[in-house]
């Protein structure tokens, strides 16, 4: 017994010494599981069973809790990453797909795809604070760094909906191209990037005026324009680059975040969905739904260095230190 305990504590000590290397969590939409990738070895170190059709993932600001949209279970699950157990389930409304956490670390803004609603849940008291009517098929969700705005995209209505977080009311709408899927604020909250999957574009919006500043288009040699379907967007912390996952075009676009020039297209796995940086910003991970793997992009060289097999239809990804 004592030996076992000792062994356990040694192995714990061993794992914690490799904490320099980050850990990635990938939701597998058709496996009802989360793949855990040890980024030191670049291998899947564990597969965790979660609710049905897990898609959007989020971390609490202290990286201790993992929030999981279990779409077909109609709930948001909260996993304690120390024990890797689901510690509670939040009332999310039906079919949660993507969500965003307010800087107060409490308010979760959740898209309810089937009900044309955004549900706001207090993740501590488990209370539903508000339900806000938005367009048909709400999907992308982001909260501005200053916490003032929550922005939702509705895929069939083709709009960005601006929700004032102080009153939880809808105050403005921006029409963008067909099937907006994802929104992302830049680091200082001045600009909002929104991808449109069917329109094939990314719209950059000035947050102060809520006016469209630029519409980006993408052209990849040898790929039919119809297959260029932007989904996930991530901006590097240094403000230099934006990365856009282009879905069935199987490429990630590298965009100069200042001039909006497309610098390069990186070939990744098939139907690339979402992206996440490692905490030190040295690597960018992509989830590739159809090929069932994760591509690793080295930020120094902007090259794809590795692909890691995960579960079926990987969708969301987050990385902890």
């Amino acid at each position: 017994m004592r030996i076992a305990l000792l062994a356990a504590s040694i192995s714990l000590a061993l794992t914690s010494t490799s904490s320099l290397a980050a850990t990635a969590y990938v939701s597998n939409e058709k496996d009802d599981s989360i793949s855990v990738i040890d980024l030191a070895t670049m291998e899947v170190s564990a597969t965790l069973e979660v609710g049905m059709r897990p898609r959007g993932l989020l971390l609490s600001s202290d990286n201790k809790l993992l929030y999981i949209c279990a779409s077909d279970s109609d709930r948001v699950q909260v996993m304690d990453l120390a024990t890797r157990k689901i510690i509670k389930e939040l009332p999310s409304g039906a079919d949660p797909e993507q969500f965003a956490l307010h800087r107060n670390d409490r308010w979760l803004y959740i898209s309810n795809e089937d009900d044309a609603l955004v549900t706001v849940v207090d993740s501590q008291s488990d209370e539903v604070l508000a339900q806000i009517d938005v367009g048909v098929e709400p999907e992308g969700m982001a909260v501005s760094p200053d916490g003032k705005w929550a922005v939702n995209t509705s895929e069939t209505t083709n709009m960005l909906h601006w929700i004032d977080t102080s009153s939880h009311t809808l105050v403005d709408n921006t029409l963008v191209d067909q099937r907006p899927r994802h929104v992302e604020f830049d680091g200082d909250g001045k600009r909002l990037w929104a991808s449109a999957e069917i329109g094939g574009t990314v719209t950059v919006i000035d947050v102060a005026s809520r006016q469209i500043e630029k519409v980006l288009t993408f052209q990849i040699k040898g790929v039919h324009p119809d297959k260029v379907q932007p989904v996930g967007v991530k901006l590097s912390a240094d403000g230099k680059y934006a990365f856009v996952a282009l879905g069935p075009a199987n490429h990630v676009a590298v965009v100069d975040a200042k001039t909006y020039e497309v610098l390069d297209y990186l070939l990744v796995g098939r139907r690339v969905w979402h992206l996440a940086f490692t905490p030190d910003q040295s690597q960018l991970l992509t989830t590739n739904g159809v090929s069932g793997d994760v591509s690793v992009i080295d930020m120094q060289s902007l090259k794809v260095t590795k692909s890691i097999k995960v579960g079926r239809y990987p969708w969301g990804v987050v990385v902890t230190p």
Binding site: E113, D114, V136, E137, S154, N158, M159, L175, Q178, D226
Partner: protein, 396 residues
């Protein structure tokens, strides 16, 4: 009991919700858009295979859902969409109703009617935009294009090409072609012959179904002998009404699959289409109509959605402006089929992937990989620009 009443209540609520949305004549709307749905579906006559009936409101429920979907964008843009419905049992009454609606100022129509009725409507409503969601007639897309008509229902040529591409991938190239007696069956058979030629198949035998051989035998019993011909890889059937085709699978002389109007079927839409967000459309439709969405529903749905997408972009509802935008390459449409859809500039046909299905599963999606095209692989299905004698975009 309690369960039932609760379910009923829910249904009522859902219906009321949609009714409220589709009548969204909000006084604050700055732009009122009226779209009329015109339907005349002739009776098919008595059918041998009549066990499972078809919905009688196919098409209409799709148009209704699209109005609700469009009002969701409209709500924010201060555009309100309204659907006027005219459903008649003969062509003449429908024409009268359409004229009356035109008199009230309606200039946008979604039509679910045979080609002959559509031609008359197109003439009568010559300053309007009509979207054909009911006729798969190839002439309308090839030699007799109507200047003010777009098409969202796939043509027979598109369906046949979609099937022929898949059969080419499977290398099932020796066909037995069986066709029914109606004009529509003959048109479907003609589309299959054209597809066979385009994709390198060989029709080893052709038979016309008449079922007058021996009336003491059932259709099922008739089939093995009826299909005893030179050896084939697959039986192609052209029976649009669903009269005899359902009796072909498992009854062929050789143990071979059946495809066409029965068996493995090319179609614009089916319950089993679920990827690329289609599951959400299916769920919304089922909540609205209490049944599965079929190809007619989809054609009417995307017709209304096309109009609304154009209105959102143009911020006005002028029929000519919508037509011009639709025929340009500036109106990408989200049809839940995995890629943006658009109208062909030469004949106004909506280019779209075609699912190949059997009753409870999706088998494949055409265009098949490897069937290349200089501008869009979707144009490997149906009549391509060089094959048609009309040019809609040029004539306005």
């Amino acid at each position: 009991m309690r369960q039932t009443s609760r379910h009923l209540l829910l249904c009522v609520a859902v219906t009321l919700g949609y009714a409220a949305m589709s009548q969204a004549n909000s006084p604050t709307a700055e732009l009122q858009v009226r779209i009329a749905y015109l339907a005349y579906t002739p009776a098919t006559g008595p059918l041998l295979s009549n066990v499972i009936g078809e919905p009688t409101d196919a098409g209409l429920r799709g148009a209704e859902l699209a109005i609700a979907d469009s009002n969701s964008t409209g709500r924010f843009l201060k555009h309100a969409y309204r659907l006027d419905v005219a459903k008649h049992d003969d062509s003449e009454s429908l024409l009268e109703a359409a004229t009356a609606l035109h008199g009230q100022g309606v200039r946008l129509f979604v039509v679910n009617a045979p080609a002959a009725t559509l031609r008359k409507l197109s003439q009568t409503l010559d300053d309007s935009l009509l979207i054909n969601a009911g006729s798969s007639d190839d002439n309308l897309r090839q030699s007799e294009c109507l200047a003010n008509v777009l098409h969202t229902l796939p043509s027979r040529a598109m369906l046949a090409d979609a099937l022929a591409q898949f059969l080419a991938v499977r290398k099932w190239s020796r066909w037995l072609l069986i066709s029914g007696p109606t004009e529509d069956d003959q048109a479907y058979a003609a589309a299959l012959r054209r597809a066979a030629k385009r994709f390198g198949h060989q029709i080893v035998a052709e038979k016309a179904w008449s079922f007058d051989n021996d009336q003491r035998r059932s259709a099922q019993a008739e089939m093995p002998l009826f299909t005893q011909t030179k050896e084939y890889d697959v039986v192609l059937v052209a029976d649009e009404r669903g009269d005899f085709g359902e009796y072909l699978p498992y009854q062929t002389w050789y143990p071979r699959p059946v495809a066409g109007t029965q068996g493995l079927t090319p179609t614009g839409w089916h319950k089993t289409v679920e990827t690329y967000g289609a599951a959400q459309l299916q769920k919304r439709f089922e909540a609205h109509a209490q049944r599965w969405m079929n190809d007619r529903d989809y054609a009417a749905w995307i017709a209304v959605r096309s109009i609304a997408s154009a209105v959102s972009k143009l911020r006005q509802s002028d029929a000519a402006a919508i037509r011009t935008l639709a025929l340009s390459d500036q109106l990408p449409l989200d049809g839940f089929k995995g890629r943006k859809l658009s109208f062909r500039s030469w004949n106004g046909q909506l280019r779209q992937p075609i699912p190949l299905v059997h009753p409870r599963a999706l088998v494949s999606n055409s265009p098949q990989e490897g069937f290349l095209h200089p501008s869009s692989e979707l144009d490997s299905l149906g009549y391509d620009a060089p094959e048609v004698s009309c040019n809609l975009a040029a004539s306005s």
